[in-house]
Symmetry: D2
């Protein structure tokens, strides 16, 4: 941590800062400069809470050098995490994982048809929401717990793995009985009681990035899960909120190499929520794999124009089959095994 | 709702849109134009879900005219809501409500001293968190349920009302046994199970704006509470996330007149989280009242440099007393009763 | 244009809106609804300025259906524009165009070495700034006019085409004597006198997206150039400003399919300014081509650690050669000719 | 400057960083830590360009402690600048300066009527554009040079001072012959040739904040003007671009105390562009003065519904007269002379 003193801060003020650092159990290294004095805080093992120092007289700014997260970082664990799923599937390994399905479970017939269609198109994991967080209390909220047996049925019929969202701690337990991966949605990225409950589950957790989350906040949310002993966390970039109006969210693909550089966790991309427009989903899916993502989560609906939610961003099964072919070809080209640029 | 067809959309495509509108139970009004056809959907009472139509061939864009919220709007209820609190205090009436206190309950001694100090400085409601949502699992998380009896004690000793945050449905019930107002924090603005539980409480709910929430999303969150039968909702602007780096958040004071124009709910301002810097709190508090807010929520700590969280944005009690005097004088000048510009 | 009246607007107010529409030379189509009346403005050929109507009593909102741009749109010209350059090179055709070079022209030796290096690595256009817009007046500002002869020399020696930036109308004329493409930088996207002067040039213009520009504003800036009779405009996505801190700018790759859908102009991507970090440039370049861009502009420097500006985002020539190979392979896979998903 | 090395950077890499620092003429202070080594660069007098060091192997991050601006800062000049205008008017002194007028000069009759109206309502400076930067080439672009004599006339008739915008270096010279203050618009905040020309003028310069400008970029733009010897710079906050849709821009009032803390330059607020909605202008004007601004720039039009541009955000003269009364009363309450909270 570096404490930047104001121009003209008194010796007394600098001394007080040094004393507080020592009281806190660290060492202080004052560095007088031409314009101002800075004080280095050393001897810390991880980030120090700077708010007490920020409140002292003469302090202009506190600059953190240590990161506040630990277990998520590559400095903690250098090798990339590979999350293992039933049936030998992995996330973070050689293959790009393709998760697909409708926005929500609507009925037995709909989910079975959708599951069959995405399986044929090449998907290995079925995504579909039983619990749906919706901005309006008057929108379709999903079938709730009644949707879970339908997901179990779809799994039994198709052999697809299941990823589905939990919205509160109680729901996390319910979801864990059916799903192979518990999804935490963007709106709940900082729902800490939910993160802790998911952390106490034995299942892998798919953690979507919050709509206005910095990478640091996103990684700290993953840290909440890991701090409970669950190391199987998959990050999912799904776009952030900006001034741009041509998409529902701005897909921040640079987050993929950035995460890969600072964390060992696998990261996938959701081009459907990341754009909100059908015609952009395939180009952005290709870009997601080209930038180095470990997988894709895509909305596919048998009859998008009949979907109860998010129809405008769903692909048809045949569009999806084409997408899968294209991204697998790109993956083959760009993987390190194929001579692609190493990611780190 | 207005459906904008693509330039060159076929008659067949326009007809299909009209048919779907009729199937959905509304009437279609096609308007051929020089550049393109637009189709008006009429006969709706509230917002129609447009995703099914957006997915049809030839449709370029769906424009909503109706707002998705109802009970929060001035069209639903023209008179401004005045929230009544025990002891005759109101939010949304003539007086500007001043809520103040430390970020978190730290100990009996600390909370009693702080409560006494803010009461003397003019506050009528004590704010302090027992449950603290923190970005990092390694930061001080508040005392949790053990903090609640300390708040009860502070209330008994000082006569101040209590506002404190709940982070999950279970916590909402616990908070409701002690507090006079349940606070929903910015990170939980779209934690729908929590909103519903708060909606089933009899207590007023203070709903902070999410970090990247549009006014529509914020009002819909309030609608979740009202849809459960709880009409005592107070909105709190606390800054949004932007590219700006000179503040922790960008305080969006234009949201106050904007909310006042479209909603009957009272709205207050939090200049402490809205800036993150002590020296900005008083100027922004003045601005908040000058722009028409019904109240202020301000962090005050007896010894900011000893605070376990957010010390860098807390005022001392004497700074706060000066603030209260200044904002009361501004309120007297600008209230409609004093000949100020009417808000609507 | 659709005029949304306030709930409870009087008949008199609706009539006044209709009268003004007729005075302006259009027809008014009032549509009474359950919640409010809306009025369609028809008979317009392009966007109507709505500010006069917005100022009328009882008007809540004016919604534009027509776009304000014309010549840039696919509705004006359905076939994609292919910009022809000397020597048979094209932008917007089959091949992905690779522009590369150092941030700025620093010396004869430096620019000749850099030009030679990028040519060998596969580039066909040399980028390098003589005029450099720098945030600080104390930073290296480029060689100015003295840099132009060095670019001419580099062109003569290597056969590369030249793209370089102009910062004011006079500079546009100077640049036009040496360059094959005039570049308008992000900070000058709405420097209208500069756009007009570039529009009167015979050279193709590369128009970078402004740091906070919507697609509409970007296309209107291109419209300024086309309105002067210059139809050879190439758009360049280079990232926008958001709250994200892991990159210098947030590269908005969804802008590529979005532009392609509404405009016939070619669009390229600048992953160097779009990220600001060397290690992200190649992944984002791959993503840019995968999403459908017509070309790439990349910073390459013989000795990045000696660059007078932007060294931290420059690739070495050998990194760049690898990048060119990878993006050409992706282009081959994803082009419509290769059976890739059609863009529109 | 602080150089943060990667975790695991080799001694050789640290040594290379130190060597480069010495080659650049400064001293290096390596500080080995538990997690990583950091290297302090000392002996610099102002900000050092870090890009050369950022490009070195083993470097994770370069953190600047020195600010890149000089003459604009309070460290350079501690007393607040008071800009003197003809007739004894000042900006930055006791009184709040009220600038008002229509968006653009439309005709002799219009500008004379508007000038008379705002003078009677209490304004002391007339704002009106002869040169109008408009997003679309098809919008009314102002009268151009022909508008300047009309401004001269309005000045002669009313005694008001004139502030009007220049869009390019040549225009700055033309404007300087008529105006008392040269305005640089938000779109041109980083039009460096224009800033330099305005810097060589003897007139005060009103510098609007760019739509996505950080305070550092804004102050550096002011530094361009001061570096040419013109010390009479007035900053104007006019809102920034964010995701918010209820206003044209998000007015960042915290920028006022932030600027006041780091710079000696006066700062005013434009609530008209800052909101884009008539009904918000007065509340935001009050807030602007309450937060400590030295003045206001407000759009006023005799007949807003007839304005050729920006009618939807213009006040009528009587609304403006009320605004002036209210903000003067707030200023009297909150000025340090009246016992208001000191700003620094």
């Amino acid at each position: 941590m570096l404490i930047v003193m104001r121009h003209g801060a008194s010796d007394e003020e600098v001394r007080r800062v040094c004393d507080v650092i020592v009281e806190m159990g660290y060492q202080a290294r004052p560095m007088p400069g031409r314009q101002r004095t800075t004080v280095g805080l050393v001897g810390n093992d991880g980030r120090v809470d700077g708010s007490r120092i920020e409140a002292l007289a003469g302090v202009q700014e506190v600059i953190h050098v240590s990161k506040p997260y630990k277990q998520v970082s590559r400095e903690w664990k250098a090798e990339s995490t590979i999350v293992s799923l039933p049936g030998g599937l992995t996330i973070g390994g050689e293959d790009v994982v393709v998760m697909a399905g409708p926005c929500s479970v609507e009925s037995e017939q709909q989910i079975l048809a959708a599951a069959e269609a995405v399986r044929e198109a090449g998907a290995t994991v079925l995504r579909a929401g039983a619990f749906k967080p919706r901005s309006s209390p008057y929108s379709f909220q999903g079938l709730g717990v009644e949707g879970l047996p339908l997901l179990r049925l779809a799994k039994a019929e198709t052999g697809l793995l299941i990823v589905t969202e939990a919205m509160d701690p109680e729901g996390a337990d319910q979801v864990a009985e059916v799903a192979d991966i518990i999804q935490i949605g963007a709106r709940n990225m900082q729902n800490f009681p939910l993160l802790e409950r998911a952390g106490r589950s034995k299942l892998p957790v798919l953690l979507k990035r919050g709509m206005a989350a910095t990478l640091e906040e996103w990684l700290l949310a993953a840290e909440y899960i890991m701090a409970e002993g669950n190391y199987n966390v998959v990050l999912c970039e799904r776009g952030v909120r900006t001034f741009a109006q041509h998409t529902r969210n701005t897909l921040d693909l640079a987050a993929v190499p950035a995460i890969r550089s600072i964390s060992h966790l696998p990261v996938i991309v959701d081009p459907s929520h990341g754009s909100g427009n059908t015609y952009m989903v395939t180009p952005l899916a290709r870009a997601g794999v080209a930038v180095g993502a470990d997988g894709l989560m895509v909305e596919v609906h048998d009859h998008p124009e009949l979907a109860l939610s998010d129809g405008a961003q769903a692909l048809t099964p045949s569009q999806y089959a084409q997408l899968v072919n294209e991204v697998r070809a790109i993956r083959n080209l760009t993987s390190p095994a194929a001579g692609g640029t190493p990611q780190n």
